[in-house]
Symmetry: C2
Subunit: 125 residues, 2 copies
């Protein structure tokens, strides 16, 4: 179970939880052809390349701990920016790695969201 | 002089450098009434409140080292998301603090940008 620094969940957190859950089941629906992911400096665009990259990541060997989730409305048409910080610990490693990630979510005509921008960085000295 | 992990500067980095420089001289021109800043969880909106908060920060007692700058186009109308990671060291502290920050920049009719979204977090365990 992931933890947050704050008590309770806001609607933004609900969206993010949904994203994480969808990550594990149906990645393709989260991204559009215009979507972009920058993962530790590696730039990817489009559903196929982004999903291929995420599917290569060792989520099954990695424990996520989310420390903070901040979100703001990004536009008059309903976009949202979400900023997450936390730590990752690989099962084979003693020390966790700090990370930060941002998402820019765009509403769809169907009342859902897709990820237009996704930037991930480990945060180390 | 701030350092980046990569050689050379992209146009995104140029924009960010301009932002940092403008921070020190003319904050009000960077933000609009709709702009939002979340600083370590504290939520602020509008030119007055955001500039007041930033002007209270001890930039003169703090050394910034930027490690990474990532940027992506955020919309068809010319928006940009910028994600920065690095460290801060207060002159009275031995150990630096890791931080991450994101900006969502919106183009203006005058050919410049303003900051619609600004989220800052220290990244600690």
């Amino acid at each position: 179970m992931k933890k947050t620094r704050e008590n309770g969940r806001t609607s933004w957190k609900g969206i993010l939880w949904n994203i994480i859950i969808i990550y594990l089941s149906s990645l393709a629906s989260l991204y559009h052809q215009s979507s972009m992911l920058t993962f530790e400096g590696q730039k990817l665009q489009g559903v196929h390349d982004i999903c291929s990259k995420i599917n290569q990541l060792p989520f099954d060997k990695c424990h996520h701990l989310i420390s903070t989730i901040d979100a703001q409305p990004a536009s008059l048409v309903g976009g949202i920016v979400v900023f997450v910080s936390g730590s990752l610990r690989l099962t084979c490693e003693e020390h966790p790695l700090r990370f930060s990630q941002m998402f820019h979510l765009i509403p769809t005509p169907q009342g859902s969201f897709y990820v237009q921008n996704d930037i991930f960085r480990l945060n180390y000295g």
